[in-house]
Every structure is written in structure tokens, then in C-alpha cells.
Amino acid sequence: MKRILEVVWIILVILTVFAYLLGYLKYISTTLVAVLLITTFIKGQLVIDYFMDLKKVRLKYRLIPTIWLGVVISLIAVAYYLPVSM
């Protein structure tokens, strides 16, 4: 695709507007937090693949930031969803 960078930028903007509207309109629920975290992962992966240009590089160099992003977002989800023991 010729205009891939522009498409990536548009997706990033749409997902950012989505996140902002959730917060601004106070629509944040426990389910939507999961959606928000998934969209954050997608945004991060788009930056890794197309802006950092790691899609064209050997897999191990692409996996380092991807694993970092996946682990951080998963642990944020654990912190959010795991019940606090009394």
C-alpha cells in the first residue's frame, strides 16, 4: 500500500480520539478499560512496526519492544482487574 504511513497516522488519531472520548464523557467502565488497553497495544504496535520501522528488521529486534509493550499492558490489566485481598 502506497499511503501506509498516512493510514497508520489516521488509525492512531482515531484510537486516540476514542480513548479521549471515553475519559471525557466518563464512559469508562471495567469492560471498556480492557478495550482501551487493547487499543493502546494496537497503537504501540503500529508505532513499533511503521514509525520505528521494525517490521522490516529481524524478528528479535521487533519482538523486544512488542514484548515490552505486551508485558506492561498485561500487568496494568492485572493491577486493574485483580481483586484486592482484604
Binding site: L5, E6, V8, W9, L12, V13, T16, V17, A19, Y20, L22, G23, Y24, I28, V33, L36, L37, T40, K43, G44, V47, I48, Y50, F51, M52, D53, L54, K56, V57, R58, L59, Y61, I64, P65, W68, L69, V71, V72, I73, L75, I76, A79, Y80, L82, V84
Partner: protein, 199 residues
């Protein structure tokens, strides 16, 4: 039968040393992000109440600005990568134009952040106000310093393009600066929903 095999580059763009720095930054910010997330668990009401004082709109505008600046930086890198002997001057001019846009975005981010900080500090909030604001101030000021450094790096690359300093097959320098800038963008992409939105 021919196979469509795309050969992968052996190393990431830019100097390998910048990637070591990027990995260290990833670890540092991961600890801060998780410190925030797990501290929040212990006092959700305090974090939710404190979060009301921060401006989500300025956080959103800054996310938009960083994403857009990253796009401009990629375009600048492409201009240098696609350079030929004949197009050296034009490619440098084109890259400088994209870099100037990116630097302007960086400055806009910093100005918005300073306005946000002056509002927060003007309310008498500081590091010891509570745990939310301790993390908010630490994370956002630490990230602010990275944007400041990144803008400085982009400015030096911009200066080089202004004297047509990049030659064909000489994109490593600009790729190094660009990789740092994209890292700053990536960190903010996680920081924004975590600190400004999730409640």
C-alpha cells in the same frame, strides 16, 4: 517456481547504541507505569478523585501532537533514505521541512505541558500531596525531559539538513534521532490512558 522472499534487515534503524538506551528507557518507564498501576490498586478512590484535577484535553492534544510529529519524522527519514546523487540538495531541503514541523510539534507539546504544570503547581499540588500526584508529577516531568532532549536532537539533525549535510546512503544519523523520538511517542501512548483516562 519463484518464491516471494522479503529479506529482513539485520539490525534496527540507526546506531545500535541508541537501541541500548531505548531498552533501558523501556525498563525505567515500565517500573514507573507498574508502580502507578499497583499503587492505584491500594487506594482507587484517591487516584480517581485526584485524576479529576488533571486536564484530559491537554493530554489528548499532546498525544495527537506526538503522533503527528512522529509521522513528520518518518517522512524526514524517508527523504534522506530515498536520496540519490542528483537529489542530494532537494532531499536535504525536503527532510528539513519535515523536521521543522516535527520540532514545532515538540515545542507545542512542551508549551502545553508547562501550562498544565503551572496549573497543577498553582493549585498547591506537589510531589508529597498524595501518591497519585507523586506518580503524575514524576512520570510527566520525566517524560517532559525526554521530549526536551528529543526536540534538541531533532534540531541538530535539522541544522545538518540545512547545510545539505546528509549524503546518499548516509541515513544512520537521522535514523538514530528518529528512533529516540519514536520511543518518546511510544512511552506517551502508554502514559496517556494510564494516568489521564483509566479510572
Amino acid at each position: 517456481m519463484s518464491k516471494n522472499i522479503t529479506l529482513k534487515e539485520p539490525y534496527p534503524p540507526g546506531d545500535l547504541a541508541i537501541w541500548i538506551i531505548i531498552y533501558v528507557e523501556f525498563i525505567t518507564f515500565a517500573l514507573l507505569f507498574l508502580g502507578y498501576a499497583f499503587s492505584r490498586r491500594l487506594d482507587v478512590e484517591l487516584f480517581n478523585a485526584s485524576q479529576m484535577a488533571v486536564n484530559q484535553t491537554s493530554g489528548f492534544i499532546n498525544t495527537f501532537i506526538l503522533i503527528t510529529s512522529s509521522y513528520f519524522v518518518v517522512k524526514a527519514v524517508q527523504s534522506i533514505r530515498n536520496m540519490t546523487q542528483e537529489s542530494q540538495k532537494d532531499s536535504n531541503i525536503e527532510a528539513s521541512k519535515w523536521l521543522l514541523f516535527a520540532i514545532m510539534c515538540g515545542v507545542a507539546f512542551l508549551v502545553i505541558k508547562i501550562t498544565e504544570f503551572s496549573h497543577i503547581f498553582g493549585m498547591g499540588i506537589n510531589l508529597s500531596t498524595n501518591k497519585y500526584f507523586m506518580f503524575y508529577i514524576m512520570l510527566t516531568i520525566f517524560h517532559f525531559l525526554h521530549v526536551l532532549l528529543g526536540s534538541g536532537i531533532l534540531f541538530f539533525i535539522y541544522k545538518k539538513t540545512k547545510i545539505y549535510g546528509y549524503l546518499p546512503n548516509d541515513s544512520k544519523g537521522i535514523e538514530t534521532g528518529a528512533s529516540y523520538w519514536h520511543m518518546v511517542d511510544l512511552l506517551w501512548i502508554v502514559l496517556f490512558p494510564l494516568v489521564y483516562i483509566i479510572r
